[in-house]
Symmetry: C2
Subunit: 334 residues, 2 copies
């Protein structure tokens, strides 16, 4: 889903960002049937319909040598569905546009099996799409359609609030780093990249408890996506280094480097959310929903995302997330 902050991250701080900001600012006034337009994880229409689109491009978001065609389909759908989780919306349907190269040929049946499995895992169906050949890479664009009476936005964080994440971070980025080093990733790491789980159920639990002031999915890395929350809310977020829930398998594989993977490696597709201070009992979520939530920081006055070390030093995380355009390490492949 495009948004100013997200695009800033992806496009880097240079001229392209300015181009894209104009791209979005040129948008005409929203029609009355549109409740939420550009700038959040998804658009919201009258009647509570939620729409988001997510593009997966070979050699940018994945390599065909890394994962199977079925996993490419699963992952493309899961990534789009994650944006519905980020609005606390209930998935209904997907539309899928595919441009597929013929050489080497894509197994469209396997691709579809993956797309369908991801859709079915959250009760959605594929209701349309488009198909073309591609003279270049494989492109898969997935539109996720959901519904909610109460979309949770990015802009509700206030100074004093707590910042939380679900699950553990760093696995998908660790798998990518292993692939890029020419190794087969550890199975636990590989699975998080190949078959991410959109946190639809987790979002429902959080909303059911009525405690969430702001919500986003972690697709660009915790630093980057916390940055989107902070920017949308006009606040600063301070993350505590010792509290970042780094996946054990990522720690086993990369030791101290795993922190950077958890902060900057995107595509874990966990949720980051903000609550009033002291209202969340992690044990309650664990016991009643089987959902691990970890407080990773706080919201303060100011701007940007900062990391506080164990010794209390704070440093700004100037670059967050994964950047398709400026060839950060990670998934860039050319």
């Amino acid at each position: 889903m495009s948004d100013d902050a997200g695009l800033r991250t992806r496009l880097g701080p240079g001229g392209e960002f300015d181009l894209i900001r104009r791209f979005l600012e040129n948008a005409p006034e929203l029609p009355p049937e549109v409740r939420i337009g550009p700038g959040d994880d998804a658009a919201v229409l009258a009647d509570g319909w939620v729409l988001t689109t997510d593009l997966s491009v070979e050699e940018v978001h994945f390599r065909r040598s890394w994962i199977t065609d079925e996993e490419i389909g699963y992952r493309a759908a899961a990534v789009a569905l994650s944006d519905l989780a980020a609005m606390a919306a209930s998935p209904v349907a997907l539309l899928v546009s595919i441009a597929a190269p013929r050489d080497p040929a894509v197994d469209l049946v396997a691709l579809n099996r993956g797309l369908t499995a991801a859709a079915q895992s959250v009760g959605a169906a594929i209701i349309g799409g488009d198909l073309s050949r591609s003279p270049g890479p494989l492109f898969v664009d997935v539109v996720a359609v959901g519904r909610t009476a109460w979309p949770v936005r990015r802009d509700g964080a206030e100074p004093g609030d707590d910042v939380w994440v679900t699950g553990e971070l760093g696995s998908a980025a660790a798998a990518v780093r292993q692939w890029r080093a020419g190794r087969d990733p550890d199975p636990a790491l590989r699975a998080r990249f190949a078959r991410p789980e959109p946190r639809i159920g987790a979002a429902f639990c959080l909303v059911e408890q009525g405690v969430v002031d702001a919500l986003i999915d972690i697709s660009d890395g915790l630093a980057g996506d916390a940055g989107h929350l902070a920017a949308a809310s006009g606040t600063r977020i301070v993350l505590e280094e010792a509290r970042v829930p780094i996946a054990q398998a990522a720690r086993d594989a990369f030791g101290e480097d795993a922190l950077a993977l958890a902060l900057h490696g995107g595509e874990d597709y966990e949720l980051c959310f903000v609550t009033d201070p002291g209202v969340v009992d992690p044990g309650y979520f664990e016991k009643h929903y089987g959902l691990a939530v970890t407080r990773v920081g706080t919201v303060t006055e100011g701007a940007g995302v900062w990391l506080r070390s164990a010794s209390g030093d704070e440093s700004e995380l100037t670059r967050g997330g994964f950047d398709h355009w400026t060839e950060r390490p990670g998934e860039e492949t050319d």
Copy 2:
């Protein structure tokens, strides 16, 4: 918008068609919030929301040497909006996914200007999207979102009905043929390719008159899209050669060959519709709506699309429309 018949046309009659049929047949049962799923020009949700997605791929649907980046944007949006016309839906919004190469760089501001102009021409706004770089061609996927209380489907044609088209056919295909021959197209032909007009207003006029039993937009060529109507309705359609409204500029450029361009050249984005016999007075539409409609044939028992010559001979139009996969002449470029 994918559909069985449309994909059959695009993928050709070979193994790929079978793959794609399985692709669609694997779709799970539709959720209760979905009124119309795969198989028409667009999907329809509860509350009358209409969704369709349309993919434009460089070197498949257009060449960057043919039209400007602004025109690429305009055309990509117009093509998606045409699917809303084909459901007689009122446009509300677009979501746009773009994967853009850096060399030669795409002018994203110009691309957006074209997308926005096409959206504004029918009262819609761009409310979201996604953006990536592309290691290959420029790729633009446009989701068009509309609304209608009374979607007009493809499956309402009955033996004895009349078959009509709006406007004139063959211009866009004539422009492509001129480009492929190394010439600059005539301006009137070029404009139909570069800035097609989605027939939103025409669809409203037709629906307002309450005469339309089935409706489709002509994106694959009259033969191909009449074939989709015939297949969806379980009928045969006979087109009368002498009645096909060939654009004068296409006739001027290609003489007798212009008939084939009108029948098989896609992307004029006029409408093809079916009515009870004798209920349409073309003069009324011309006078009250400024809308040219031409009766081009009739619906009969049977299957397929046939062409009746002036002498009364009938031949089946076995190949309809533009096929991305089997390299028909037209827009294929490799």
